[in-house]
Symmetry: C2
Subunit: 890 residues, 2 copies
């Protein structure tokens, strides 16, 4: 067993692919060294030592000491220095480095090896006593903090004491003698706090630092992080020891950080900052303003401080070369750290750089086009969930933000408009082509038309899964929900925010991605859906994988879905078509009818509008499949609830208000989620599916003529628990089809299927598939019933659940693979056994969640269906899932 | 293939066990004939002919004609008559007879073979022209009705015409000549209606009657009945043809029906009625008062009409002998039909007699004690569901019933008492030891104490699964729910029933088994739980099978459960302990507390009362297992809802009514069934399980001292969906146990388990069993979530579901074996794999349903738990299930 791997001087014992053993940092240092790049010589103590440390009561392998000595000798031979030697001392840095970077791990210790003697040698060798003492006092402070557990504030206090005693403001005003005083007091502090003198022996120092790195693997913060990110305990961390290089030895020294491309925009131009005569930590500390690396960047920023390109042209040119080498070698944009010591460039780190989604997209596409990576690799490099940012207007990051209040980021994107307090006002404004923000305490199904008319929705009550939030996300409309600091006074027509009052017509802006409410209009950036975005989507398409459909019912949503590349409609919720002001009356008449006759009369009024809806939808989708769900929600959702509304409706219907109130009361339920809805409505009132089926078939005939394409509707029966239910309703649909065909002399091709959204339906899928031509997994309801959790009521305990980590993921966001997932799997298998060509899809909100999509791929579903605005996300996720599946079988 | 089976003259081609082929009636006729009993010779056309008839477009097998001729010759040879012979004609009866008796099938045709010629022979042979013509006109009427489809009312009209023309009142006043006229007009009617003359050829008559029997297999009534009772279409019916015997040839002839024991009481004494000089139909028609069979019965009824024993001692003695023979042969009480023709006894039918549950019990136990059947057979002969009748007081069947209104039979048993309209009044009355009936529009959890105090509960709203119904059944209190014709006026303190007004204090009686509400007090019969009942229960116990526990939380219920033979408590619902008037305030304080401190203070008040509850329960159960479920329902169930109640509570709590109202509002949920309840409460408010666990452990220590028996509580966590939830709460319970053990120095033995009542819990049972020592299937909630049906809301569509036969059984009454059952099976298997000694039980209402209990036996559960009043039912059902399982494996 080899416990220590050396690198430096143009070679290395390790490689980049030994990340598990050497950690990310160590593996990349080895790789750079092996590439012949200038890396300060050093070595990595492997993660196996960490494992040994914890398996053996915090002790080290027997042979470690010997390997450490050899490794230090290796550095010595390359640098011409010796660790512990007072005449020519080798100073080292010590850093942790696990497979994945992780918070809670030990900070860097620099300048290790300095002591009361070697500091004098350093002073003599460098000819800069101040530099030497400053390095020593920094080392004591760092070491005492991270190894000896002495509070670093105490050190800062000492420094401040001495500065104020001398009337200094900046550290730089301290002379070498001042720093010697500091060192004395630092050492006293250490002795007071630890009952031990500050270790003078470099080997003791080194062992102390190595032990601190290993111990930091078990800090509560690191332990928690690993649990949350499912990182196994036994990975362990490596320790990297490198000879010191100094960026702070004078004006020919410098230190900096860089990205090989712009991590914000993705532009293919060197990007970064550096400081002359500084150590690494100074760049990020922000005490001095860092300088640009390139002249172009300096000019762009309007800075008059020299760029590295201008100040140290040779070192810069070597660095630029190294950037190209590393990017080409790693085939990805790199995040680098470097130091220039007395004009000589040293590379301290390279790793894949973090980037914005926009940058990620540009980089991946440009690299693929340049042949650096394959198109599949480009597709696999974009996080589908992050794509959401790109699909909505965003507030210009340079704009001034007058934040009035902050609520929940309920539906992404930004929008400005005039305040309206009612859905009616929103509709009227839309008719006048004015942009409005609908402001409500909370929304209800009656507000659907107003929500459609508004550019943004703001509620003062309700969470991420409130009506407003769910509907807005479905529509792709920006929404801030639950902004509790705001008060809506409908009567006065005002919105009050901490003393500021807004009235109807005042302009506000919502940032649905952050939850902020801003006063006034704010400049926006429009989503850029062409260029790299379009290119990547095209490549994703090329990968194959599950088809992606959209959940849509309005022509606008259907068109959006097509524009985003949807391959059909997976869920058209017909009830949403009933809320329009001119339709709701007929719907209410239908509900209030006590007898089938009355119901049929009201349905006769709805038939032509439903038919027109479907016809338009079929025309837009032009031959793509459209799955239409029959009426689903409890009828009382359509009824008015306030006394005022009831009186209004009663008057317009010519019904006694008291009778209406009784009927509303009779329709209300204890648990509407588990009540008289879905196929149960169709069974109680067969006239409803009859009308809906007729509207679908008549529209299909008409649309196939206008579109010139055959239209094959998929009729979906919701909330089925037994085959008998589906049989009954399928019977109604079939006989309606026969009637329409007889009347028109036209043939209609269609299928009847069902939602699988109840555990019983999943279990009985074999039987149900005898009747159903397709299954669509309604995983919203399936999650609710499988967990026994009402999404509308979960807010009161879900917080505690997430806080106490009882749920790793919110099961309404990411499909629970164990419970709900098993039911999906069972249903798919039984469905396929009974009917091998059954079409399987998912239409719950999970259909737009990348991890859930990956799960669907493992089950072998044919398609996923999601909100139109998540179609690109789903397309990318489906492509990645397919690639992962290929990789698994390969 | 043999299509026809003959019998008579001391032998038969068939046997009793050929019921599938010969039908019930035919098989028993053959059996009686083979036993040498006097059966009129005849034959049975098999059910295979019926199958052939329907498989071959209503035609008969080729060889049938030949077999019929032979069979008629067989009868002829035994009777010395010939079918179709005018000199010595054989007359026959034709009857249908399927495997199981079934409504909608063809009625009997008697006297077939009579025509214009043979009627004269009959007149001559019998020397009674009136008898002959009366037989002929009866035959025409019956035959025309059932074979030719002529409305029988038209025949009755003709008869009435002739009677009124002659000024007669009774049929008996008609002379032979009058009857000849009747026959002429009957034949004219047939010709008018059918365009054919009434068939004179006996063979044509016979074929017509046989065809009518087969066609009657497909009458809509028969088809519906078969579908409802899952009787396969292809069983078919047999046809029985027998030579006629006449009970109406004079004073030495008679006809009667008999049971070998009293079918009402089970008394071992011949029971029945007969008429002298009458045909079978006359006995049931009720035109003449029938006479008793035995002298004892005649004396008991105070009749002065001769008994058969006195009137025809020889025939009677032979009949009594035959009764003994048949009962011994069939090993069961028989239902018989007989005719005496000119002093000669003929047996026309024997079959197992229908009986009341009380009689069934007595007969089974007495037969077993007499050695006629085994004890196991006795146990298997009682329908457990029917046992319910015996366990509650019932209204004396001889009492006068002044029925005021009828509602739903929501909870069985009868009770009388004074009307009270509030739970408070009920409690006060109970304190005065007065019997009261609690009358409410509907009940809520706040009424629990009043429901406990009342002898019966009457509501004017709500169904079989309303709060009142469910709670009353659990308590064993008679309840009539949803008596919509009644109007309660709380303000006036009146109950109005169609113009009759009752006020508080007026006495009414409820019959919870029929749903009737009666004015005044009515004599009752008390349940008889000793004697045969106790004997049978003892034998059931001896069979083994699953243990039976009770769902109980009050001392009264626990005691009832023990008295009924429960072997422990399977479900103690702790929330029911919180509704008492003196506790609800502390509960409300707990709920209203915003901080843990406030909650803990309120819980401190509840701790001693909970401890006392458990102590009493443990003492009553004396060492038997007690499963205690931690607090389960949504907290808002404990809160007041009306403005009045809120004001009252607010005042007593010293809280602002508005704050209370807001908190009540905040706690209310869209779908409380799927909301913040069960273990979710315990996770949000860990002080609650902590208090409950402490109360349980302290009570266990105290009770094991007083009872001298170790008490091992089983602590059950409700509504678990994930192992993590159970782990967290089990942790609280364990650390509370440790604390109590430390404080008291006593050891406590206990287990922690969970309800399996969510589909996800069933699926994750393997994981959950790592923590749970037992599972109790909460099939009420599991059915709700698996089907996605709220029991509280199902009333609005369940009617249609049952009517349209979408549900064969109500899944809330009988466990759905396919969906819910599969989850129970999965959970049992996975639980046992993870923990082989896991204890498995069921505590939903299905635990008291015999068919569900049979299912539980197939899964291999350890116990079922049900309402105390259903414990005997469950014990019997469990024994039968175990016997069925043994039979299956044997």
């Amino acid at each position: 067993m080899q416990w220590v791997y050396t690198f430096g001087g143009g070679s290395a014992e390790g490689r980049a692919d030994m990340r598990d053993l050497l950690g990310g940092k160590g593996a990349n240092l080895a790789e750079m060294a092996a590439l012949g790049l200038p890396v300060p010589p050093g070595f990595t103590i492997t993660t196996e030592v960490c494992a040994h440390f914890y398996d053996n009561e915090h002790t080290y392998p027997d042979s470690l000491d010997g390997e450490l000595t050899k490794a230090l000798d290796h550095i010595g031979s390359l640098t011409g220095k010796r660790f512990g030697d007072t005449a020519n001392p080798l100073l080292v840095s010590v850093r942790s480095g696990a497979r994945a970077s992780m918070p809670g791990m030990m900070d860097t210790v620099l300048n290790l090896g300095l002591n009361d003697e070697t500091v004098e040698t350093l002073a003599a060798q460098s000819g800069d006593a101040r530099f030497a003492y400053d390095s020593y006092r920094r080392f004591i402070q760092m070491y005492a903090d991270v190894v000896l557990d002495v509070d670093h504030h105490d050190f800062e206090d000492i420094l401040e004491d001495i500065k104020s005693a001398n009337g200094f403001e900046d550290d730089t005003e301290l002379s070498a003698d001042h720093l010697k005083d500091v060192i004395v007091r630092y050492k006293e502090l250490v002795e007071d706090e630890t009952d031990e003198v500050f270790p003078q022996d470099p080997t003791t120092q080194l062992k102390g630092a190595i032990g601190a790195v290993f111990r930091s693997w078990m800090t509560p913060r690191a332990v928690t992080y690993r649990r949350l990110h499912a990182i196994p305990e036994d990975w362990g961390t490596a320790v990297n020891v490198q000879s010191m290089v100094f960026g702070n030895t004078g004006e020919t020294s410098a230190t900096g950080v860089a990205f090989t491309r712009n991590p914000s925009t993705g532009e293919n131009a060197l990007y970064g900052e550096f400081l002359i005569n500084a150590q690494g930590e100074d760049v990020v500390a922000g005490i001095r303003t860092p300088q640009s690396l390139t002249e172009d960047a300096r000019l762009a920023s309007g800075s008059d401080k020299a760029s590295l390109e201008a100040a140290m042209p040779e070192a810069f040119s070597q660095f630029r070369e190294i950037c190209h080498t590393l990017e080409a070698h790693y085939r990805d944009m790199q995040d680098l750290e470097f130091t220039i010591e007395d004009g000589r460039l040293w590379m301290l780190q390279t790793r894949a750089g973090k980037r914005t989604t926009k940058a990620a997209l540009k980089i991946a596409v440009e690299m693929a086009e340049a042949g650096m990576i394959t198109k599949d690799e480009a597709v696999s490099r974009i996080d589908p969930a992050a794509l959401d940012q790109l699909l909505h207007p965003t507030i210009d990051p340079n704009a001034k933000r007058d934040v009035v209040a902050t609520g929940l980021p309920a539906s992404p994107g930004a929008a400005s408009g005039a305040i309206v307090f009612t859905s009616e006002a929103a509709e009227e404004a839309k008719a006048r082509e004015e942009d409005v923000i609908l402001v409500r305490v909370e929304t209800s199904p009656e507000d659907i038309h107003g929500m459609h008319a508004a550019r943004g929705i703001l509620t003062t009550r309700g969470g991420m899964t409130s009506h407003a939030a769910v509907v807005a996300r479905g529509m792709g409309t920006p929404c801030v929900s639950g902004a509790g600091a705001l008060q809506v006074d409908y009567a006065a027509g005002t919105l009050i925010a901490e003393g500021r009052a807004f009235k109807a017509g005042d302009i506000i802006t919502l940032d649905g991605s952050t939850g902020e409410v801003l006063a006034g209009a704010v400049p926006m950036l429009q989503p850029e859906l062409t260029g790299e975005f379009a290119r990547l989507m095209e490549w994703a398409e090329g990968v194959g994988g599950m088809a992606v459909r959209a959940n849509a019912e309005t022509p606008h949503d259907a068109q959006t879905a097509r524009n985003y590349g949807a391959e059909g409609i997976g869920l058209c919720r017909t009830e949403h078509m009933f809320f329009d002001a001119d339709r709701i009356m007929a719907v209410r008449q239908m509900i209030l009818a006590e007898e089938p006759e009355g119901r049929r009369k009201a349905l006769d009024k709805l038939l032509p509008v439903q038919r027109a809806d479907f016809e338009e939808l079929f025309e837009i989708m032009a031959g793509q499949p459209v799955t239409i769900r029959l009426l689903d929600p409890p009828l009382h959702e359509f009824l008015p609830h306030s006394a005022e509304d009831i009186a209004e409706v009663a008057a317009s219907l010519g019904v006694d208000a008291d009778i209406l109130r009784l009927r509303v009361g009779a329709l209300s339920e204890f648990n509407p989620m588990l009540g008289h809805r879905g196929c149960r409505l169709a069974i109680s009132y067969p006239e409803i599916p009859e009308m809906q089926a007729r509207a679908i078939f008549e529209a299909a005939i008409a649309a196939s003529k206008t579109a010139g394409q055959p239209v094959e509707p998929e009729i979906m029966v919701p909330l089925v628990a037994t085959k008998a239910e589906l049989d009954l309703i399928a019977g109604i649909v079939h006989s309606t089809a026969d009637e329409v065909m007889k009347e028109t002399g036209q043939t209609i091709t269609y299928t009847v299927g069902t939602m699988i959204e109840l555990p019983r339906a999943a279990l009985m899928a074999g039987e149900i598939a005898e009747t159903a031509a397709f299954f669509s997994f309604g995983t919203n309801d399936l999650t609710q019933t499988t967990y026994g959790i009402s999404r509308d009521d979960a807010a009161s305990f879900l917080g505690t659940y997430v806080q106490r980590e009882l749920f790793i993921d919110d099961p309404f966001v990411t499909l629970d693979p164990d419970g709900v997932g098993e039911l999906v799997k069972i249903a798919s298998e039984r469905g396929r056994t009974a009917r091998p060509d059954i079409k399987l899809g998912i239409c719950g909100e999970h259909g737009g969640d990348p991890r859930s999509i990956a799960f669907c791929e493992t089950i072998g579903l044919d398609y996923v269906s999601c909100s139109p605005f998540r179609v690109p996300i789903a397309r990318l996720a489906a492509a990645q899932a397919a690639m992962a599946a290929d990789a698994d079988t390969a």
